[in-house]
């Protein structure tokens, strides 16, 4: 709890398995703290009002808009960002599929799409194409026309499932 609106509060955030300590105002959004205080700038800020999905991260495994939460609210949660996808020098199958299928041009929306698709597929590896299309409509991309994003996510779904089997 804070007494004055400008009082900063001590928070600890678990981002990709590493705990970051920060002193922030309660009004600071999760995405701003991830970028400014945790130094993880892979997560992008687009519209800042929940429409574009560029800031999508996983909060306890579920995709959320990190511009629509305050960082103080994310304490005690496990946050995953695009920096947490690859293991060592090996790209996550979703990242590899985005490269292989030319699913990005400027790349600004890409971290959000990656986290959205990975979050949903980890929970629902057998999601139908129609439902995945509905999920992917959550985020905006102004370059690709979406077709290659859909191709990449389908290909990655296959690879992720094969790795699990």
């Amino acid at each position: 709890m804070s007494g004055n609106p400008s009082d900063k509060v001590e928070i600890a955030l678990d981002v990709n398995g590493r705990v970051h300590h920060a002193r922030v105002e309660p009004r600071k959004t999760l995405v701003d703290v991830i970028r400014d205080d945790c130094g993880q700038t892979g997560t992008h800020i687009g519209c800042e009002h929940g429409v574009c999905g560029a800031c999508t991260v996983l909060l306890d495994g579920e995709p959320v808009r990190s511009c629509l939460m305050f960082a103080v609210q994310a304490q005690g949660c496990k946050i995953r960002t695009v920096e947490g996808l690859q293991s060592g020098n090996e790209l996550h199958p979703m990242q590899q599929a985005f490269m292989d299928h030319h699913a990005l041009q400027c790349g600004f929306c890409t971290p959000g799409f990656l986290m959205l698709a990975v979050g949903v597929l980890e929970k629902r590896p057998d999601i139908s194409d129609e439902e995945m299309l509905d999920v992917l409509s959550s985020n905006l991309c102004r370059c690709t026309g979406y077709q290659n994003i859909i191709k990449a996510v389908k290909a990655a779904a296959h690879t992720m499932k094969a790795a699990d089997d």
Binding site: R27, H49, P63
Partner: protein, 286 residues
């Protein structure tokens, strides 16, 4: 844009939250639940509450409870909870599951809450329409006690309700519809996940073989608040399901409403959508 400064309060019990709200509501202190409507409004600086009371840490508000033929949806239950088959039993659960996938987008549904949508009272809110269709009750608690407000006494207009500023919506109660109730939903928006321009919910039961009883037709998004349409229900009760019957019910719903107008949607356009959505909701229920 960044929200204006506020003091952050994190109660862990309903008593504590209600006490804080009683103290801070006169200064425009507000409840923060899912935040999927409030936080964008704050980012635009259209809302600048000096205090936010975050109820996400209150365990007693987190669940869906079934109590006899009533289901009680706690204030922190997220939209996604209703995507799980069986989360709410019987026909009511089936109906809510048909509705939920139309609410915004998945990453919004993982945070946004059922009760928050109801308290926010956006005319385009699917849950406001559902609570109206099912004749739910909004449970509002303040330091002076608990009120159970019937849905048709709760919504007053665009984002306006009979909830007092010092009252916390702790849950919404819905009656479980009788087994065999058929339920349908349809809405129209220009893009998936956008605010609906019109929506309709329809349910009925078949008795004596093939006769319709217990008809419920509710329309949302078209008027300042959702409501059941008695003329359309009267047109449906006692009939046998058929396309001409459903078309007559849809006509009755379209005739009964007084649609809102905005720069993109004329009253006639919305009236036409209400006709089509009512027909589709009935076909979806059949």
């Amino acid at each position: 844009m960044k929200p204006a400064r506020f003091c952050y309060h994190q109660p862990t019990t309903v008593d504590e939250a209600v006490a804080l709200l009683g103290q801070l509501a006169p200064e425009d202190g507000r409840i923060l639940a899912g935040g999927q409507s409030l936080v964008p409004t704050m980012a635009f600086r259209m809302a600048q509450p000096p205090h936010l009371i975050d109820i996400n840490g209150i365990a007693e508000l987190a669940g869906i409870e079934v109590d006899g033929d009533i289901v009680r949806i706690g204030a922190c239950v997220r939209h996604t909870a209703f995507e799980v088959a069986g989360a709410v039993p019987g026909a009511t659960g089936v109906w809510l599951r048909k509705v939920v996938r139309h609410i915004a987008h998945y990453p919004i549904r993982t945070r946004g809450t059922f009760c928050g949508s109801v308290a926010n009272a956006d005319p385009a809110s699917e849950w406001c329409c559902a609570v109206t269709a099912i004749d739910g009750r909004i449970v509002a608690r303040s330091a002076s006690g608990v009120r159970r407000i019937a849905a048709n006494q709760f919504f007053e207009g665009v984002m306006a309700t009979t909830r007092r500023d010092d009252e916390l919506v702790t849950s919404v109660e819905l009656s479980l519809l009788p087994e065999g109730t058929r339920c349908g939903f349809a809405e129209f928006s220009r893009r998936p996940g956008d605010f609906a321009i019109a929506m309709a919910m329809a349910s009925y039961r078949l008795v004596d073989g093939n006769r319709i009883a217990e008809a419920r037709i509710a329309v949302g998004g078209a008027e300042p608040m959702p409501r059941r349409i008695a003329q359309a229900e009267a047109e449906l009760n006692g009939k046998t399901p058929s396309t001409p019957v459903f078309a007559a019910v849809a006509d009755a719903a379209a005739a009964a409403i007084d649609p809102m107008e905005d720069s993109n949607n004329t009253a006639d356009y919305r009236r036409g959508l209400v006709r089509t959505m009512t027909l589709r909701a009935l076909e979806n229920a059949a």
